[in-house]
Symmetry: C2
Subunit: 767 residues, 2 copies
């Protein structure tokens, strides 16, 4: 090492010691949410990483043999269920916390003994290649997962770089060690899911290939390069295709040591001899572009075989992101819940480009990102609410990249639409609204994006005027979505109206008064679905009449998607005051909120909704799903704001924990966790697109938020405890404030916010 | 026009008049070979063009409902049968003259009246979208095809640039004009052929998309851009998929005016209003890379809508290629047969790259050709015999590009093999041998390639040493392919031995004495499958014994592929003299040849071979298939060379014509036609890889061959007629020659060759 390098070395060592003495990863438990319906995965990934290398505890098919939907499908959105005792292998792509699913690509399973390529039944031990495991032999931490595969006495360890999964399998001594690569396995598997798969054995320790599926992502391509640390002694595959045609490949013994394997459904295997405790390592790189791209990613990100080094570097990457909010809490459990929520908030959106910036676009052409890092997995109906607002505080640069990814999606879209749910170079059209505009408006309002405003406005306006999109043509003509033309019409009308308000905000910043007035006018459309005579938002028909059949409690078929008129009907975040006035005023509204939280909902009202589960329900309030996430904060707009404080605290304490069942519903790509982070810090973005946050009840002792502008936003609480959930006083930079809002500027300016807490409400504190 | 431009203009006009006064395209009849088993297509294409836009007269499925092979499949290798009266549409990719098939991509059909997306049955008029047609309303010429679609009174015209098909449809007046784009249609269609198809409606007159198939090419991607000359008024599609899963696309009315259409099997349509005789034109560009590539090809090659201009330019491209051999013949029929053969010899291999040089490689990655034009469709077991030798005379630069394409194929091959049958970024493994080495050796011998010799040798040697390839491992170990391990073992042994001789020739030129001796030794392996006791090449078993069951006349299951011991057993082109000596000497060999031509083969011996048809048989000689193409020339190696002259003339006169049934078997990607061109000119490359041509019986009056070195090789005949088929004297550059061979240098030096003909043989002329 020369002198200059040594100086640099000292500088970075010093910097590193100075900047990061705390290990926040110790408070992350990736298993949180893996029991019941959290739909999180426990495996290894980097923050926002393209690879999510995680165990599958069961392999489901979506449709049973008689053609019926298999209700177990839903349980395995992320591939892993804590109550299971079986591991089928480790695959490389997973969604975190979604309520519909896909992926589970490239399942790798190490086995020993007589080769068995059939996965077998989870309920029947040794019925296939799967293995029993127990949680006592399982470790999950940020960027690292390990488990003992009991059936084979193989210790499996996983870590990852951004684009490369790194496996390490310690085998027993055997002449029959196998590594299975199952290309049939898929999450949300159905008969026609795989459209094509392809493996090339490049040499005795490197294979490449791709898998193409037709699932939630209609046409998904994932390319890979898989490098073994040791040459395999032989290999082969089994093809499960039904096609009568195999061309002249029939002249080969394709199934044994033939270096091209292809078909719709194939399982490959690679054989080894191992000595006792010999570790076989695998580097498994992904690309959306090509096998060439996957190899480039592999060689660039992971040119060595040092597993511990990657494990530590990935842990360090996580620590860097987690350290952006340094909280102190009363209990360890709270701290673990907090940092696990932080962890869950950074599992998606994921980067979606190769190290050279190339990525597959929505038009299926290969693009190169210019001035941004392309991302995918935008579950926007969920994440616009709190996750992207959170990013505007702790990840503004990355959020700006995400916005640019959305604009690229728009440019590549044949509909000229921003993403609804951006999914591996596909639009999967899940849920309602066009909430990318909210993400853009929020970033515009908070000055965290440098995109051209006119371009952003044009993209937003294009998106909001596609007549064949989900009732939007009717909405534009009639001012509401008619239920007889497009179901979930009230949800759509409310979400569109809010989205239009967002577009108006962008227009205002762009000084486009025409667009501003057009979309501001459209933002009032919520008025058109409010039935004054019954006091509920209600589905209206194309002829202007209210639909006769209507049950404001039923969450199915009543004009709302995954919600009912009682809760989803309160969705006017941009004009809460006007909505409250329209609904009879503050006191009556308070009473309605009380009723929501205290009237138990009957099973018959939720039985048709996979996404509404008992765990996440308080009365009629459904925390386990998104449309009500702002509801606890609505008391702030009434004469009883302290009820926000108690309800928020109740939800924080009862709906989250540091245990495997610590999520009361799908984490929804981080939205549930983002709600928790905001709410424990004491404020929440009720209306993304505005700079205001509504104050709730902080449940931390203190927090320091590191901002990208170099400043720190400090939150302190005085006298806070599980009993002292009410606000008695709030000081911002030493001055008492009387409203229950703070502004984004307060954060960005590096203010100090002190919450003084007590066991009883201070009823003078109002909005 | 300014003065300089005007001067250029005059210059080019003069040049054009000077260089090309003759129109050779008038002698081309693309319908030759469309009746019975020629398997040629009559549609529009440029020389070696990537688009072959041609009508389909029936849509076949490969397997009937009970799972059996549909024997009609074979008839439709090129999509068109002259005896049919129905047209189903015009698709953009076709193979010319093959005996197995694929392609037929992007079938376009114009219709009127009530929309019908079902193709219907050919036998039932008006049972689907197909139309009746008659040959009196049909025109086919080089680069142009037109037909009246009787059912709709639509005049269809087709032409093409290298990468763009150009359609022109003259409609009647109607409010119900449709253009159907059928993505279900495929040549050699089976249930699982389409793996995925995708259409994007970019705007009201442009669509893009792709089709991915699993056929003879295992994983073929073809991307397209389709531009209409007039906006469609509406559009839609029908999806025929059986998949239970459609994600959230179900929220759309996907079938009507929804600009993304995707699935395994879809048919799309585009609606128009037309006035009487209104012409709707379509530009349809292909790419192996992406829709972006297809659009680039479209905009680069065809930026205008002038149909006549393209038709004329394409005709001119053909004329330029056809003019490379300027023949005079006794009859117009002969001239038409000759130029049609010339035409057929340039329908493949085809260029396979976008205008920017990008192409899909065998590894499925996107490559850019560097210093060559990438080609595909190498049907090498057929074309190494005479087609590539022909190219070495009239297309040496392009042949060099083809060799470089083969080397790129090798580099991209996981097997590190040169192509066996290169097929749209796939290896389809059809037939036996590794004849790319012959093409390279022939070009090396004739100095028409500038590839690095060591690199070419390495690629050839790699190809010849892949142990799992088609019995090659056994061949390397035992010196022959054992029939009990790999069928068609004698054919394989003979072809490998010849191929090895070719590699030895490359090695010799590369001064690699080790490789030379290795492969020269291997080239003697034909000795190992000759059974002296019965006087035939015969299948041998792995234990060294001859197979007991053996019938030297049967073309099925007797160690030969598409041939029998009588004819295929004479395949030792590199050591004909030694073979003849081994088989008992010249006189006995002559008698065997006589027997071949005079003993009628019984049906039972050929019934299992689709590729051997009665039309192409003389006694036991099968001209309609390749393995015997050198046989008529083998008399030259005996004491009765004049029998070569009469037999060649007999074959030229009886096995070819200028009529629709003018080919006696599959044209085999141009090999049959190349045989005709050589044989009518009076010589034939019996042993590609050597510079010698064996002289037969010229049937032209004269020929001038334009060489790329600027010289002209002139052939004249004196006293030649259908009766005067025997050579009495040969003069090369004014000097009599007594051998029946000429050398490639004689051609390249621009010699004059005069054949003096008579009605009786001159028995003094011998080899």
């Amino acid at each position: 090492m020369n002198k200059v390098n040594f100086t640099y070395f000292l500088f970075f060592i010093t910097l590193s010691i100075f900047c990061q003495t705390k290990d926040f990863t110790q408070f992350v438990n990736p298993l949180v949410g893996t029991k019941n319906m959290g739909h999180t995965f426990p495996g290894a990934t980097t923050p926002f990483g393209m690879v999510q290398l995680s165990p599958e505890t069961n392999l489901q098919v979506m449709f049973t043999e008689d053609g019926k939907y298999n209700p177990d499908t839903y349980k395995y959105c992320a591939g892993y269920q804590y109550d299971d005792t079986t591991i089928f292998g480790f695959s490389h792509t997973h969604l975190s916390g979604t309520g519909h699913s896909d992926l589970g690509d490239f399942l790798v399973m190490p086995t020993t003994g007589t080769l068995n390529l059939e996965p077998g039944e989870a309920k029947q031990p040794k019925s296939g290649y799967h293995s029993q495991f127990s949680h006592k032999n399982e470790k999950a931490s940020a960027g690292y997962y390990s488990v003992l595969l009991d059936d084979y006495n193989i210790q499996a360890e996983l870590t990852a770089t951004d684009r490369v999964g790194f496996h390490q399998y310690a085998f027993p001594k055997t002449d029959e060690a196998h590594i299975i690569l199952d290309l049939v396995a898929n999450i949300y598997l159905h008969d026609d899911k795989n459209t094509w798969t392809f493996i090339r054995v490049e040499n005795d320790s490197l294979i490449t290939g791709y898998k193409q599926t037709n699932g939630w992502a209609r046409t998904k391509f994932v390319y890979f390069a898989m490098q073994f640390s040791k040459p395999f002694t032989s290999y082969g595959h089994k093809k499960y295709d039904k096609s009568k045609y195999n061309g002249f490949y029939r002249k080969f013994d394709e199934e044994h040591n033939f270096p091209e394997m292809a078909g719709k459904n194939i399982r490959a295997y690679f054989n080894f001899n191992t000595s006792e405790n010999e570790k076989i390592k695998i580097k498994f790189a992904l690309s959306s572009v090509s096998t060439e791209g996957a190899l480039l990613n592999l060689n660039t990100e992971l040119p060595h075989w040092d597993f511990e080094k990657v494990k530590n570097e990935t842990k360090e990457k996580w620590n860097k992101e987690l350290s952006k909010i340094d909280v102190e809490t009363e209990t360890l459990e709270q701290k673990e819940s907090f940092y696990t929520a932080m962890y869950h908030s950074m599992l998606s959106p994921i980067i979606y480009e190769d190290v050279d910036g190339k990525y597959r676009g929505l038009d299926q052409n290969i693009h190169t990102s210019n001035g941004f890092v392309n991302h995918t997995v935008f579950s926007l109906w969920d994440t616009y609410r709190a996750l992207h607002p959170l990013y505007n505080i702790i990840q503004p640069k990355r959020n700006n990249d995400m916005i640019k990814s959305m604009l690229a999606h728009h440019d590549q879209s044949v509909h000229k639409m921003l993403p609804i749910w951006s999914h591996y170079a596909n639009e999967n059209w899940c849920m309602v609204g066009y909430h990318a505009v909210s993400v853009i408006a929020d970033a515009v309002a908070k000055n965290t994006t440098d995109v051209d405003l006119n371009y952003a406005l044009k993209a937003a306006s294009n998106t909001a005027t596609v007549p064949y999109f989900d009732g939007l043509g009717y909405y534009m003509n009639l001012g509401y979505v008619p239920e007889d033309k497009s179901s979930s019409s009230v949800s759509k009308t409310l979400e569109y109206a809010y989205n239009d308000w967002c577009i108006a905000q962008i227009a205002q910043k762009a000084n486009n008064t025409d667009a501003y007035s057009t979309f501001l006018k459209r933002s009032k459309n919520y008025l058109n679905v409010y039935d004054q005579s019954i006091g509920y938002m209600r589905p209206k028909l194309a002829d202007g009449n209210w639909r006769k059949e209507f049950d404001p409690l039923n969450t199915h078929g009543q004009g709302f998607i995954e919600g009912n008129a009682w809760n989803y009907g309160l969705y006017v975040p941009h004009e809460v005051d006007k909505m409250i006035a329209m609904m009879g005023g503050k006191d009556s509204f308070s009473k309605h909120l009380d009723k929501i939280f205290t009237t138990p909902i009957e099973d018959k009202y939720i039985e048709h909704n996979e996404d509404i589960t008992r765990d996440g329900i308080i009365g009629n309030y459904v925390h386990g799903n998104e449309p009500g996430h702002h509801i606890p904060y609505l008391y702030n707009f009434t004469n009883e704001p302290w009820k926000t404080q108690s309800r928020v605290r109740m939800i924080v304490d009862t709906m989250y924990s540091n245990k495997e069942d610590g999520l009361c519903g799908n984490d929804d790509a981080g939205q549930m966790s983002a709600w928790y982070i905001f709410s424990t810090l004491g404020f929440y973005p009720v209306n993304p697109g505005s700079t205001k946050y509504s104050i709730g009840s902080p449940s931390i002792q203190s927090a320091i938020i590191l901002l990208e502008n170099g400043k720190k936003f400090t939150i302190k609480t005085v006298n806070q405890s599980s009993k002292n959930v009410y606000l008695s006083k709030i000081k911002l930079n030493g001055k008492s404030i009387s409203t229950l809002t703070i502004d984004h500027d307060d954060i960005e300016n590096g203010s100090e916010l002190i919450f003084y807490m007590g066991a009883k409400p201070n009823k003078k504190l109002t909005e």
